[in-house]
Symmetry: C2
Subunit: 405 residues, 2 copies
């Protein structure tokens, strides 16, 4: 008898954004005339940068001619893209990495979700609360947790991120093995400073732990003194992996390209305590279960690093940051306590009430979609996440509607 993975049963309801999408669809069905403004899922709305569009077209023309056609590419990505990433995204300060430490993929969600496969199922996992649900759900599916009780999965070490610690996770007072960090944070929009990251790297080194550092929103940081990569921290190459994405940086949410940096110095351990290269494990995982990213997509991503591309990407992120500023100001004026939105497209708002009720109120009475904070963890209760990913006009309109409420 084909028996199911029993751990799937432990998962709480559907995936957060899928649930929201269904509620929004139901509202739209019931109110076909309503002009819904989506500040929920954190999906970009502005077109791809022209440099990326041009490169995309060129690569497709290559795919149409026998002389230039490309079939299977390397599972780990083309050298042209890995090299430009290593140079332009990491060739500064102490963050140096090698091109062959870069693995191209079709999304950070996939990489964040799949990376845990490399490790034993009985390790201790630490996850911020609140945080992007994928870290937790994929560990539940892999059997690293007990059941869900009182808002928490048994066996997970939750790292509370609240006003008390400026929404920055503090190192736990017990050893853990696998640590998820996300900066700029989703959902709180806060950025870990150098001191905070140094504490984590030091903790990981002392505990032979591994940090999975999700930097999908790094291109929104506008302050040089804030770390842009965990690899700026001394000693991080041995204990950290970093996820990055073209999704929010260059509008690739529908085009799909991301990458993960796994330094050669980064080690995990077998049952005898002997070190094993995490990069080699990931290479083996990717060559076995993945076949690389679409060639034209990789060419389009490469173009984001050209002179024109970089300028256009900067304009794009500036545009969303201006939206974020408008949202921050409007929500503050409404009397809410607000963090995030300065080096991040997300604004984290303390609603002072039940967040799903607040979500429904904004949907029903203002036709504005947000994300209820409790979907990101217990400590998100009472908060909503507002995303700056929309047109200027829609953001201004949405804020006016909310102010009226």
């Amino acid at each position: 008898m084909i028996r199911v993975n029993r751990h799937f049963k432990k998962l709480q309801s559907s995936y957060l954004f899928y649930t929201i999408a269904k509620r929004v669809a139901a509202y739209q069905d019931a109110n076909p005339a309503a002009k819904i403004i989506r500040l929920g899922i954190g999906d970009v709305t502005q077109p791809l940068p022209p440099a990326c569009i041009d490169a995309f077209h060129n690569a497709i023309d290559e795919q149409g001619s026998p002389e230039t056609f490309r079939g299977y590419g390397p599972s780990e990505g083309y050298a042209f893209l890995r090299e430009v990433i290593a140079e332009k995204d990491f060739g500064y300060r102490e963050a140096n990495i090698d091109p062959d430490e870069v693995f191209i993929s079709d999304g950070s969600k996939c990489d964040c979700g799949n990376f845990q496969e490399l490790f034993a199922t009985d390790i201790a996992v630490a996850i911020p609360d609140p945080v992007y649900p994928v870290y937790l759900d994929t560990n539940v599916m892999a059997g690293r947790t007990g059941i869900f009780k009182d808002g928490h999965y048994q066996g997970i070490v939750y790292l509370p991120c609240t006003a008390d610690n400026r929404f920055l996770p503090s190192v736990p007072d017990q050893p853990v093995d696998l640590i998820y960090l996300c900066s700029p944070n989703n959902p709180t929009g806060t950025v870990m400073d150098k001191e905070s990251l140094e504490q984590w790297v030091s903790f990981a080194r002392n505990n032979q732990a591994l940090i999975l550092f999700d930097a999908a929103y790094v291109d929104f940081i506008r302050e040089d003194s804030l770390p842009h990569s965990i690899f700026e921290i001394e000693g991080a190459h041995e204990v950290a992996v970093e996820f990055r994405s073209f999704s929010k940086m260059a509008g690739f949410t529908g085009t799909r390209c991301a990458y993960t940096v796994v330094p050669k110095a980064c080690m995990a351990f077998d049952e005898n305590g002997d070190p094993i290269s995490v990069r080699d494990l990931w290479m083996r995982r990717q060559t076995t279960k993945f076949n690389g990213v679409s060639y034209p997509v990789q060419r389009s991503a490469e173009a984001a690093f050209s002179e024109d591309g970089r300028r256009q990407v900067r304009e794009l992120t500036d545009y969303y940051l201006e939206n974020a500023k408008i949202i921050r100001r409007a929500m503050t004026e409404c009397g809410f306590k607000v963090v995030g939105g300065e080096h991040s497209p997300y604004i984290w708002i303390n609603t002072g009430q039940d967040d799903w009720a607040f979500f429904d109120r904004l949907l029903q009475q203002a036709s504005v979609v947000t994300t209820p904070g409790s979907g990101f963890g217990n400590n998100g209760s009472g908060f909503i996440r507002v995303s700056a990913f929309n047109s200027r006009e829609n953001v201004i309109d949405a804020m006016a509607r909310i102010a009226q409420l």
Copy 2:
């Protein structure tokens, strides 16, 4: 201490095609003047059909304009593609399926590799020998096998495919829970007939087992009496999942698009024997760990079903089948026993000697790359797989070189 997934250690050497690629690179380095002809990995060489190129360009233009830009699409794929697949690939005979039973992905390798996550780790798995290595390796990584000994992983039920059973796997005489079948087969190029598939569906129904049916090469079948889908077999919808791909059909190996059909009637069981929808589990897996396929890629794939697209796809597969005919004839004339290549781009050749030695001889003395059969399993020893994916000119040249040897 961050401990590794101990099952990775059981894997035998590197992934087959990765190993071959390294040997070929070493040969090319040592012989820079050699004109290597690749009949190895089974990678297409002809450009994308013009209909797919046009649709690709149009979709990119949409991504360049704010009015038509699309961000995140559905994890399970756009309705436009799921609908045309259900209609054109399955709207015939008994093989009817619903569009919402179709899940679009970036590759059959990913789907074949990831699907096993839905099931318990202590189920019994049956895998043909020889076969595409991904089925086995991903089950090893998940911990469903013991160690590798005498050419076999302990705990796997191997289904021998040899001249004795016309290279078609026979149902085992013991119950198993998860069964991998591949038709047209990779590597043997043989196609399961209706009777053989009926036996498997009947076996699965009697044992509450699930069949994962890999039909990535279905578009090469040129005989109507041969099943094109397992869903043509009565009762299969309850016990089978089917994988298909645009890779070999429309030259998408570098463009990346595939799909998996999971009928709503298909059930697995919890520890109490209660049925659980496999489609719901896969939906949950995909919404949690995957973010959908690039929008322009899905538009390009859709175009393969247009009138022009279908004609061009047919020309493409005809072209490779003509290559296969040439290879079959040449190798038969050299005195080898040969199967496959009639409804498949693969020709399976009994070399009558060690297959890695034969592989090396063809590489070193004819600069022709093939795939050693033992890479696909014990019963592949002594065989090589020759792929018809190359230009006519190269295939003719390669056969001439081999004949000379």
